[in-house]
């Protein structure tokens, strides 16, 4: 594993996920203070703040980096704010990493927080006949769960997946999250519970689809030299942050698009989601076989199965076999979503990619009480932000 572009994770912290109805700034400050406390770093020693933007909370959300900096008490730090939809946290972390590796920052605080509305995520009000995200609702009634359902149905028709398989992902993740103090849902779920819940978009049931949540996650990072200087020995390192865009032609239908690029008679070497993982592995100098745990974006149960294949944890069409054999549960060969995943958290968009980094850090340190993956040395996170934003982070110890 190449160490030349590694940075150190000094501390991580979260505000529990839920529907708390409080301002996002409050969650962000609590998560930030938890991460600083975990790192043993005084806020006044932070010289870069990167905020994950939230688009549903007014101007303060658009300038989240400065909003958090002011709430923590102006300390003169440099500031940046990132937005990459669900990939926001990874992009924010990448910004911090770049300045640290360039020698332009010593200690960076990266924070994402959100307060979310109830129900389907829908576009802002107004008529926008040239906005594809508006048109997919107006012309087609195409909601986010409907996209998840398209991917799920392909698994059924092509690979023989069943609604019971999808339900088993929920059962597994619900069990993983039982002891996670930051999870919103901490309750056992049965296959019957999932299959007995209402069908939202065939073949997906209500319990196959993740909720939207309030929550916050924060990470304190520095150069590895700085980490050693303050006496940290068993470092958790960030080995890769993949924030790739798609490569033309992008031939798999992506939310919120109405269509794909033309494949022009040939299949691209990798799909977009495969390329996100590939770039992360390349940057870290490792392969899927080296990975001991994965935190992936289970917006739906079936999507977790897609991600396993996109990450190369198994061959295309084999994810159900791994699931059925218990390989992706705690104690299995490659535990997936030991945190409980979005199934237990619900999605807090600008915080979610950072929450994945928090979980992998706790796992690598051996601090994931009640959900610990044994002997975890390398973990990977994966997700995808709307409009072409890759997000994968490799961490190791």
């Amino acid at each position: 594993m190449s160490a030349s572009h590694d940075i150190a994770v000094l501390g991580v912290g979260m505000h529990p996920w839920g529907k708390w109805g409080r301002p996002f700034t409050e969650y962000g400050v609590i998560a930030a203070r938890a991460a600083l406390d975990d790192a043993g770093i005084d806020w006044r020693d932070v010289d870069l703040v990167v905020g994950g933007e939230t688009v549903r909370n007014g101007y303060a959300g658009y300038v989240a980096g400065a909003t958090f900096a002011q709430a923590l008490g102006w300390n003169g730090a440099r500031v940046a704010t990132s937005y990459a939809a669900c990939a926001t946290g990874a992009q924010a972390l990448d910004t911090a990493r770049a300045r640290i590796l360039a020698g332009l920052a010593e200690v960076a605080l990266v924070v994402g927080a959100d307060t979310t509305p109830k129900g389907f995520l829908a576009p802002n009000a107004g008529e926008r006949w040239d906005d594809p995200d508006w048109l997919r609702f107006r012309l087609l009634g195409m909601t986010n769960p409907a996209y998840f359902a398209l991917y799920a149905r392909r698994r059924m028709d092509l690979y023989g997946a069943t609604p019971e398989d999808f339900a088993q992902v929920k059962v597994k993740n619900a069990r993983h999250g039982l002891a996670n103090p930051n999870a919103r849902y901490r309750k056992e779920v049965t296959v019957e519970d999932v299959l007995g819940s209402a069908v939202v978009s065939d073949p997906l049931h209500l319990l196959d689809i993740c909720a939207t949540s309030d929550g916050a996650a924060a990470v304190v990072v520095s150069s590895t030299e700085y980490a050693r200087k303050i006496g940290l020995d068993r470092l958790v390192r960030v080995n890769a942050v993949s924030t790739v865009t798609p490569t033309f032609p992008n031939t798999v239908l992506d939310m919120p698009n109405i269509s794909t690029d033309s494949r022009q008679g040939h299949r691209p070497e990798r799909t977009f989601k495969e390329s996100i993982a590939h770039a992360a592995y390349e940057e870290a100098g490792i392969g899927p076989v080296d990975v001991g745990l994965a935190e992936v974006y289970d917006l739906s149960t079936a999507l977790e199965l897609d991600w396993m294949e996109d990450l190369g944890l198994c061959e295309r069409g084999q994810a159900e076999s791994l699931l059925r054999a218990g390989e992706t549960t705690l104690g299995g060969r490659i535990p997936v979503n030991p945190s409980g995943g979005l199934a237990c958290f619900g999605e807090a968009v600008p915080a979610q990619a950072l929450a994945q980094v928090c979980e992998v850090t706790w796992q690598l340190r051996g601090h994931a009480t009640g959900r610990q993956v044994e002997d975890a040395r390398v973990g990977i996170t994966a997700n995808q932000g709307l409009f072409g934003h890759g997000s994968a982070v490799v961490l190791s110890t």
């Binding site: 609702f137 087609l140 398209l150 149905r153 073949p203 033309f248 109405i258 690029d261 033309s262």
Partner: protein
């Protein structure tokens, strides 16, 4: 008042309607929805700096890439066609041009009438009282209908 296409220039109407794409006159890449500003615009092929497009009719038939339905009423700007709300099906369809295009499934058809790889055909139906929209209709082979 007669109904008109929900988005001007995206599809034709009449007995054999088609989607309208834009073909780059430099590299021949075809796009749907049409490139904004056609006949001028920007080609999105990374190796092409073409800026001129011609309108091209896309194939009327394609194969189902995947499908689902909307069992709950989608939020605005979706406008429900019936009160109470009646679910509808959706399909993503791969055209011979190599483009996958989403659409609602034609009135009267649901997920039970679809499977990945099945053939469908473009039709134009009312979106509401004023507007028309493209939809995907399962292609029923001769004689098949009688068997069902």
């Amino acid at each position: 008042m007669s109904a008109s296409p929900a988005v001007e220039g995206w599809f034709t109407t009449g007995p054999e309607p088609t989607l309208l794409g834009s073909r780059c006159t430099t590299c021949t890449t075809v796009y749907f929805p049409p490139v904004r500003g056609e006949p001028a615009g920007f080609c999105r092929h990374p190796a092409c700096d073409g800026g001129e497009f011609e309108t091209t009719e896309l194939s009327r038939r394609g194969t189902v890439w995947s499908y689902t339905d909307a069992q709950y009423q989608p939020p605005p700007p979706y406008v429900a066609r019936t009160e109470p709300y009646r679910p509808f099906a959706l399909a993503a369809v791969e055209l011979p041009e190599g483009i996958t295009v989403l659409g609602q499934v034609a009135d009267g058809y649901g997920v039970r009438d679809l499977r990945v790889g099945a053939e469908v055909e473009l039709v134009v139906e009312p979106l509401d009282e004023q507007l028309l929209v493209w939809r995907w209709k399962p292609v029923t082979e001769l004689g098949e209908e009688a068997d069902q």
